[in-house]
């Protein structure tokens, strides 16, 4: 989560150790020995190891791709003079929501049970969108406080 007071903009992203390049090299690091072994056996005539190795690497590749993709999820909240603009989703596939700033509120709905995480919403006039599902509870609370400061909503106000 990044915030800046001079240009009120908040970017929320999931905790993700991977970069696309890191995932690529991890995949290459797995592929070389696994395919190497399978090809070595195939060259001796025992080729049926090869399709299983390929299948396994395909699953690994998909798993890494999904993970990298999930890590690219972003939520950006911009605070203009009159509007709060929320942009969220993946690069190229982002949805936009806009709320009038004076009426915008942030609130946390508690989880269905004490063991479940709360859910942070930003909204105005009956419309709302959920934010920061990827954050921890402490970060969510802190973000909610910051959003309330920026939308100038008194801290006691709850939906």
């Amino acid at each position: 989560m990044k915030t800046g007071d001079s240009a009120p903009r908040i970017v929320i992203r999931p905790n993700c150790n991977f970069t696309g390049r890191g995932a690529f090299w991890l995949f290459v690091g797995m592929t070389l020995p696994v395919l190497g072994v399978a090809v070595a056996w195939a060259l001796r005539g025992y080729w049926l190891i090869l399709p299983f190795a390929g299948l396994e690497l395909a699953v690994l590749g998909i798993a890494l791709a999904i993970t990298v993709h999930r890590g690219r999820y972003r939520e950006t909240v911009r605070f203009g003079q009159r509007f709060v603009r929320v942009r969220r989703g993946y690069a190229g596939r982002q949805e936009h929501v806009e709320f009038p700033r004076p009426w915008t509120r942030a609130w946390i709905e508690p989880g269905a049970s004490p063991a479940l995480p709360g859910r942070l919403f930003l909204g105005a006039g009956g419309a709302s969108c959920e934010l920061a599902a990827c954050l921890t509870e402490e970060e969510r609370q802190s973000l909610c406080r910051r959003l309330r400061e920026l939308t100038r909503v008194p801290a006691t106000a709850q939906k």
Binding site: N15, C16, N17, F18, G22, A23, L26, M30, P33, V34, V37, A38, W41, R44, G45, Y46, L48, I49, L50, P51, F52, A53, L55, E56, V59, L60, A63, L64, I66, T67, G71, R88, V97, G111, A112, S113, A115, L116, P117, R119, G123, A127, S128, C129, E130, A133, C134, T136, E137, E138, E139
Partner: protein, 523 residues
């Protein structure tokens, strides 16, 4: 506009009863499923072991016919390896890895659910072969052709169940790799990861490397039997010895798949009860990696008697002996951790210390087996049986038990009964030695393995071994009873449980909440 973008694993246990367990994507639920499944399989495999030992109580055939005896030896191994040990370690990984790296869950929760739920049908299929015409496979867990090709109607079911078990392992391994590499808490670099996480990361690599080889090998057996290929059939120009090479290329890394996570558990337990940091963390990581690497270049030490060039035997003998170096590093590091520590002997520590001593015995007998001239004498005798059981029972299984005692209060929120735990430890340790130590002498006296009848000179040691088997088996019922008792209630466990343990898992309350790390972990 109202929207929800919560990931599926952010939902709580909204379902109840069986549906909850079928659909859960929560790592703690899935860890519990794995551990319960593993315990059931441990009891099933243990019952098979008791049938074997009862038949061997005295010479002659008294309880089962030889074919059923062979089915029992085969199924005992398959059930214990693929049903008890591997799922136990995956269960511990599921419970502990997200807690230890500060992640809210596994990286791919749905895949996690699938990788567990593949297991029960696979084992129904495998155990169901006992009731098929021709019975279960009886050619040994190594599935050597041409013997294994004589299996009755059960053969394709065995192959299919092994494929399912392999798929489950691969999915689990991929999930673990992605979780560890991608979801560590901010600040937790690789060299700050707990040893259990490190050993599992390396184990997952081994699984990914080894499993396609097994899958290919058993598929080639299937095509040899049903599709007129001759990969391993000498009559068609194939080579049955090549199956042994391929099998052990999978099989030896598999041995380390079964022991490396146990190393990780012991590396967590010993520092806690010695009240000292682990000695030589970096060397432990390097040693684990070295063992994993070497596991791929030692496979033919299982087959010195097949007829191999002297240079080949020498290579595999030397590489096998090299494994003693990183393993020795680990043993000495554990001893150095305990050295001048403020040691207390709670049940997990007792099992950990027994692990270090008894696994070392298994390691030394492994070194004896690595020597080509000696191995030609020991091959296929009870000495081999004693060796790998020392590695896998007081080694891997004691590792699992140590881990369960260590983390059980964190899982259940209750302390287990320490007195019962110590009884369990002492009974298990005494009986496991009564069970397996005499088998060294039987092997040195050349008693062959996998036989239901034997010469009378082997009677006494076999009787002692059988008494040990029943003692060990019954001791485990105490463990089951104590687990049930601890889950149901008992003294409340604190957050830290033990005296100042290291690790993020001890910063969350006991029992660990359904969703952990709602406050950001500090590393």
């Amino acid at each position: 506009m109202s929207d929800t973008t919560h990931e599926e694993h952010h939902d709580g246990p909204h379902a109840s009863g069986m549906w909850r367990w079928l659909t859960t994507t929560n790592h703690k639920d899935i860890g519990t499923l794995y551990l319960v499944f593993s315990l059931i399989m441990f009891l099933v495999g243990g019952t098979m072991a008791l049938i074997i030992r009862t038949e061997l109580f005295q010479p002659g055939l008294q309880l089962v016919d030889p074919h059923f005896f062979n089915q029992m030896t085969t199924m005992h191994a398959l059930v214990m390896i693929f049903g008890a040990l591997m799922p136990a370690f995956v269960g511990l990984a599921n419970w502990q890895i997200p807690l230890m790296v500060g992640a809210p869950d596994m990286a791919l929760p749905r895949m996690n659910n699938w990788s567990f739920w593949i297991l029960p049908p696979a084992f129904l299929l495998l155990l169901g072969t006992l009731f098929m015409p021709g019975g279960a496979p009886a050619g040994g867990w190594t599935l050597y052709p041409p013997l294994i090709l004589q299996t009755g109607d059960a053969f394709p079911f065995v192959v299919f169940s092994l494929h399912m078990l392999g798929a489950s392992s691969i999915l689990g391994a991929i999930n673990i790799i992605v979780t560890i590499t991608n979801m560590r808490a901010p600040g937790m670099g690789f060299m700050k990861m707990p040893l259990f996480v490190w050993t599992w990361l390396i184990t997952a690599y081994l699984l990914i490397g080894a499993m396609p080889v097994l899958a290919g090998a058993i598929t080639m057996l299937l095509t040899d039997r049903y599709f007129d290929t001759s990969f391993f059939l000498a009559a068609g120009g194939g080579d049955p010895v090549m199956f042994q090479h391929i099998f052990w290329f999978f099989g030896h890394p598999e041995v380390y798949i079964l022991i490396l996570p146990a190393f990780g558990i012991i590396s967590q337990v010993i520092p806690t009860f010695s009240r000292k940091p682990l000695f030589g963390y970096v060397s432990m990581v390097i040693a684990t990696s070295a063992i994993a690497f070497l596991s791929y270049v030692v496979w033919a030490h299982h087959m010195f008697t097949v007829g191999m060039p002297a240079a080949g035997m020498l290579f595999f003998m030397i590489t096998t002996m090299f494994i003693a170096v990183p393993t020795g590093v680990k043993i000495f590091n554990w001893l150095a951790t305990m050295w001048r520590g403020s040691i207390s002997f709670e049940t997990p520590m007792l099992f950990a210390v027994a692990f270090v001593i008894l696994f070392t015995i298994g390691g030394f007998s492994g070194l004896m087996l690595a020597l080509v001239p000696a191995d030609i004498e020991y091959h296929d005798t009870y000495f081999v049986v004693a060796h790998f059981h020392y590695v896998l029972v007081p080694g891997a299984i004691f590792g699992v038990i140590a881990g369960v005692y260590y983390w059980l209060p964190k899982w259940t929120g209750h302390m287990y009964n320490e007195t019962l735990g110590k009884w369990h430890f002492w009974l298990s340790t005494i009986f496991v030695n009564i069970l397996f130590f005499p088998q060294h002498f039987l092997g040195l006296a050349s008693m062959p393995r996998r036989i239901p009848d034997y010469s009378v000179q082997f009677t006494e040691f076999n009787m002692i071994s059988t008494v040990g088997a029943f003692g060990f088996g019954l001791s485990q019922l105490l463990f089951v009873w104590m687990l049930v008792k601890c889950v149901k209630g008992g003294e409340k466990a604190s957050t830290e449980v033990w005296d100042d343990p290291e690790g993020l898992e001890w910063t969350v309350p006991s029992p660990a909440p359904y969703h952990t790390f709602e406050t950001a972990p500090k590393v």
